[in-house]
Every structure is written in C-alpha cells, then in structure tokens.
Symmetry: C2
Subunit: 226 residues, 2 copies
C-alpha cells in the first residue's frame, strides 16, 4: 500500500477568508455603469472569483458589446478605486485567523491561491495577519490562467511541495470548486461568499461549511490532524 500523504488545504481569499465579495460586486457594478454597461448585480455576484479576463469576455458575449483595451483598463481602475474607497472596514470572516493558526500549529500545510492580483490581495493578507514571505501565496500575477482553470491551485501545491491529489481546495465560489475538479483536488465550499449549498455541491464541493469557523469546528472530519 502506498503511504498516504497528510491532507493539505489550498484557500481562496475573497469570500473564503475575508468578507469582501459584496464590496467587489458593487465595485464592478459601479465600474460597468460608468462605461454605460447595465448588468444585473446578481449576475456580477455569480462571476466574482473567476479570472478577470474571462469575466469581461463572458460579459461582452452576454451584452453583445465589444470592449476596447482602454475600456477594460478604465473598468479595472474604476473597480479598484471604488473597492478601495469602501473596503476600509473589510473584516476577516469568523474563525479565519483561528483556522489558519490551527493548521500552522499542527504542521498541516496550507497556502492561498486567488484570482486577484497582489496589488489588491496584499492589504487583505494584512487583515488576516498572513505574512506572504512565510506562507505560499499565489496570485493572478504568477500564472497564465486564473480560475476556473486549475493553474492557481497547481502552483500553490507546487509551492507547498505536496501532491495536488492529496489537497483540499477551500473556496466560496463555483469557480473554486470547478478549479478543484480540474486540478484533481477535493473541493470544500463555504457559504460565506453568498452562493447556496446546492450551487457549491453541484460544482464539486464534497463538503460545505458556513465559513472558516464552521470548518474549524469540523476539522477532524476532513483530515485536519497532524
């Protein structure tokens, strides 16, 4: 029998460890409105967490509009400005710090993999007290394709020096769960990004918890031991 590697956890960031999804949703809505593009807010919500390039391409297809590179750059910059103006109160989700500390204290490998860029992820890592020099953090800047492609999680596993087939991907969106399947990791879904249980399960989550606190309360059921 092949020796089993211990479980490791690859975390999404927005909506999974910090309570920032809704601010991102309204920041994108504002950026789109400024370009004269009307998209219902729930449709933006359902795309948060996927690659920004895929997001705008899907949007172009839905609306029948074409976006110039300049328009895309303006939208990204409007989004960042609106988000930064409203995110000063962004909080870690309940149990996020405790969960990461538990894993560290118990020598259980973990990393962070986000579709965002380091410029926006940096301040969020500070909220969590995560030191990107000590913990593997993979951002959009480091891979060719973001979620739902598996690259971010594959890179995070490589940084940890673990096999992706022994890892759990923890995220709040269907893009995390689809990435997990494509990477051959197990998916653990959180409700804290505003998706429903069923949406997460149907995109591949093998367990669904409310948030980091709820995962920590059930950590023994998902291989969380040293």
């Amino acid at each position: 029998m092949k020796a089993r590697q211990p479980t490791s956890f690859l975390f999404d960031l927005d909506g999974t460890l910090v309570d920032s999804v809704y601010d991102h949703v309204l920041a994108w809505h504002d950026a789109l409105q400024k370009e004269g593009i009307e998209v219902s807010i729930w449709r933006i919500h359902r795309r948060i967490g996927m690659s920004g390039g895929l997001f705008t391409r899907a949007l172009a297809r839905e609306t029948g509009l074409e976006f110039s590179d300049e328009a895309l750059a303006r939208m990204r910059s409007h989004h960042a400005a609106h988000y930064n103006a409203h995110s000063s109160n962004t909080k870690a989700l309940p149990g996020a710090r405790e969960l990461l500390k538990y894993l560290t204290d118990n020598y259980i490998p973990w990393a962070i993999a986000t579709s965002g860029r380091m410029a926006t992820a940096g301040p969020v890592l500070k909220i969590l007290g995560v030191d990107a020099d000590k913990v593997p953090v993979v951002t959009r800047d480091l891979v060719a394709y973001a979620k739902p492609d598996p690259d971010l999680f594959l890179a995070a596993a490589e940084k940890l020096g673990i096999e992706i087939e022994t890892a759990c991907v923890v995220g709040d969106s269907i893009w995390d769960m689809l990435s997990a399947q494509r990477a051959r990791a197990l998916g653990i879904g959180f409700l804290s990004g505003g998706y429903g249980t069923d949406e997460l399960q149907r995109s591949g989550a093998y367990r669904v918890f409310d948030d980091p606190a709820d995962m920590l309360a059930h950590i023994d059921e998902i291989g969380g031991r040293r």
Copy 2:
C-alpha cells in the same frame, strides 16, 4: 365543475422588480457596524426581504446581544441614510416594466407586496413607473406582520378582489416563497436577488426564472393569458 378564476400575480419589490438587494445588504451591514455589531455580509443577504422586526430579533438571537429601542431606531435610520446615498443609480430589473405592461394590457390582475415601508418603496415605484393610486401596493405599514408571514400577500389579494388560492407570488427570496406557501398561493422564484435555484425551490417555488424578462418569455407556461 367549479369555474376557474384566471391567474393573478402578486409581486415582491426589491430584488424582484428592481435591482436593489445588494444595496440594501451593504446598507444594513454599515448600520450594524456603526453599532459595533459584526455580522458576515452573506448572513444579512439571506435575511433581506423578511420583516425588519424578525430580522433584528433573529440577529439578536444569533449574536447574543440585546438591542434597545433606541439602537434599533438608529440602525433603521443609518440603513435608510446609507441606502439613499447609494441607491440613486438603482435600476429596474431587465423586463420589469415590460412584464407589468404585458399584464396590464392583457387584463391580468397584479399587485405589489413588500416588507419595506412606503417611505422606501415610494421612490422605487417611481423607477418602475408604477402609480400607487392605480395599482394595489401593500407595504409593511399596512399589515401587522411582514414576510415570511402571509399577511402582505393576503392583503394584496384582497385589494385585487381575487382568491389567494388562484394567485402566484413572485419573489426573489425564500421569505417570499415561504409566505406564498403559508398563504396557499403558488410561488415563482427569481434568481435576480442572488439566491440559488435550489434555495428557492426548497422553500416552495414551483417555477424559477432569472428575472422579469425571463418570466415574460415564459408567461404562457404559467397562466399568463387573458
């Protein structure tokens, strides 16, 4: 055989006809933070549309805090101020005006029933071009208990002069669907408030559409004929 009454439609307002749910969510989050109360944003999202009294009572139970009448009044006023400051761009959901016009043109009875008060619902009705003197509109001010109690929809049916058992309740939240069941109406769920299909079906929706435009495209399947 008893003569069948034609179908009628009782509409929720926020998230069903106008794209205002996410603004309400962040306005409540801001109001709670101002009182020093930390609640994850998705938990607020999942309570939008229920009676404000039940919302704060459920919150008190979850957080273990007690809210004074003064704190509740401050929160309501903070919520209203934040919402009004951010809602100037609130738009009708796709197809909302067209759907209501179709029903009116085809002599199909319809009304609006919202857990909100007339003070906040008034500006929203203007966005829709609904004249509250011509269309029955039932707000929180007019009934003893809001959703998920059935009173709002029962009052709307009475104003229309129709039997509630022949009506469809159209809403975006599980509170609308639960109210529909308690009123013995059929529930029609919209995804436009950010709930998932499964959440709406499990709370009683017999059909789920994306938004008003999607319902109008399928109107013949749900009794929408004169």
